[in-house]
Amino acid sequence: MSGNRRAYFKRTLLNTCLCLAFFVTVNYMIGARILNRYYTNILNLVLIYVVAAVSLNLTCGYLGQLPLGHAGFMSLGGYTAAIITTRFSIPDIGPIPGQAVLFFLATVAGGIVAMIAGVLIGLPALRLKGDYLAIITLAFGEIIRVLVQNIKITGGAMGMGGIGKYTNFSWGFFWTVMVVAFTFLLVNSRHGRAIKSVREDEIAAESVGINLTYYKIVAFAGAAFFAGVSGSLFAHHICYLEPGNFGYNMSIEMLVMVVLGGLGSISGSIIAATVLTIVPEVLQTFATWKMIIYSLLLVVVMIFKPSGLMGDFELSAARLVRKIFRRKEDVPQLPENYTEGEETDEQET
């Protein structure tokens, strides 16, 4: 039955075309100055937060845990990448600018450092559940902040300045696609199902042979990697870093985005991150009320829809197309000439 594969390729083609169209359009708009510097900055900030929020969704929405130290991973990634880009340089390799390669490598390095921290923190922390996990990740996040504040290489409490403004729409878009693709592909696989089962019922998951610790670490590490990436993008957007950037408040802002968007919905996180980044930037009067409204929203949404505004519903271009053309979804079916007790090795023609 290659119907599965055919449907998959059609969907992937559709999504890729949409992404490319979006990318080309926005790039054109930037180049033609339709989107001026002000809007471009907001756009970049949006993408940074989208990467962070989607990565957090992996541990919050899909794994069902509440890590409160996400900003700590962003901090590690940001500082690592910034240290690399301010101390090294790569010459141009033919037509490819060396700076771009350096930025890419530095960001990846930042992600890896964050991921290692994620594994180191996750191994002890994920033995705990619920509230305890939240508190211990909070503690680790704060410890990271204190560490960063006291090491010379990060500039200590004074922070780091003079970081190149390497983050642009292309890089933001690239990493957004990476995090969304990674999360989506992972979640829709047996490993994703395993992660979700940990959220649903740990004891039942163990009883069907799921190695809880392994999958908790996988989700945690994956989330940490992309948090580090977003930290690097952030560092190279505002061009200076201080430890206070990545404190408890940033972790909470990320949490609000994920929760409001929907625990378990990638598209929800994207929408929420976009809205919650743009609105405070654009409505300055709103900014003073921002945190009050956020906290109120958090409480209200939790009371009325505990799984977040979009829950685990995903926007899907493929589904939209199907609705427009009134096609039915391909549900896995038993072959029509299936008889109980016989071998099901038939090849469908």
């Binding site: 211990i136 503690a139 003073t288 945190m291 906290s295 109120l296 939790m302 505990p306």
Partner: protein, 289 residues
């Protein structure tokens, strides 16, 4: 300053931590929730007491006002925000608690601005023991805390209401079947915890007289560490944990530097959670399969 002074300071601060930790312990014991908003109830209590004293009311009235306000605040929060989520996933309840905490902090910030207010001095004097001075504040703090904790222990062990609290903590369903009004018991738990928080707030302000919107946050977290260290769900545990954290903090500030004090406290938390999550005096909770 030497060892004895540090120890006395430690016990002083530790008693306040213990009072606050009691609130965390009681709430966690009964609804299995880390009440992130607890620290901010302290902040609310401090502000109420401040404004009352500022308006010229006598100390006793101000303290009473603070207690009443905090009790009402705690009970309202439980009714409005936590009760609807009792049946939902734990993560939702936790997020709500965080939301309430933020709401309180930011509302206070909006209403009172972030500039710290100076809490008036309401306790004067001290004693000389040998050639050391022990301030009245320290004595009052330790005495009041000890009295309250003893009172609470007696309350929980002997009164029906106290027994109801213990029953609901152990097994909510069974308690309900026994005819205990679970909702009222939970409300009462929050009320007592919040009341203790108000008194802790006043005591805290006697020693650290700055009142500002985020004063409850860090203090609350450290008190929570004390609760975990001593054994979450255990009243004597809160005392032990509070004293340990208080002394550790005082010693660190005295011999190392205050910058590391926070880190040390957090390390305590991590070590406890990793080695013995149920704390020094806590019991292991087994999940029913």
């Amino acid at each position: 300053m030497n060892l004895i002074n540090h120890l006395i300071n430690g016990i002083h601060v530790g008693s306040i931590y213990a009072l606050v930790a009691l609130g965390y312990n009681m709430v966690y014991g009964i609804v299995k929730l880390i009440n992130f908003a607890h620290g901010d109830i302290i902040m609310a209590g401090a502000y109420v007491a401040f404004f009352a004293l500022d308006a010229g009311m006598p100390t006793v009235v101000a303290v009473a006002a603070s207690v009443v306000f905090c009790v009402v605040l705690g009970v309202v929060i439980e009714k409005v925000a936590y009760r609807p989520l009792r049946k939902s996933a734990k993560i939702s309840l936790l997020i709500t608690a965080i939301g309430i905490s933020l709401l309180l902090e930011n509302t206070a910030q909006k209403l009172f601005s972030a500039t710290p207010r100076l809490f008036p001095k309401i306790i004067e004097g001290g004693f000389y023991v040998g050639d050391r001075q022990i301030s009245m504040t320290t004595i009052v703090t330790i005495a009041v805390s000890a009295l309250l904790m003893a009172g609470l222990t007696v309350f929980v062990k002997t009164t029906n209401a106290g027994k109801a609290m213990r029953a609901v903590s152990e097994d909510t369903e069974a308690a309900q079947l026994m005819g205990i009004n679970v909702d009222r018991t939970i409300s009462m738990t929050f009320a007592i915890g919040s009341g203790l928080a108000a008194i802790a707030a006043v005591l805290y302000c006697c020693s650290y007289p700055q009142v500002y919107p985020t004063m409850g946050a860090l203090f609350g977290i450290k008190a929570f560490v004390a609760a975990v260290l001593g054994g979450i769900g255990s009243i004597p545990g809160a005392v032990v944990g509070g004293l340990m954290i208080g002394i550790a903090e005082a010693l660190t500030k005295g011999y190392l530097s205050s910058m590391w004090a926070d880190a040390i406290v957090f390390s305590f938390l991590i070590i406890t959670l990793l080695l013995k999550p149920s704390g020094i005096l806590g019991r292991k909770v087994v999940e029913k399969v």
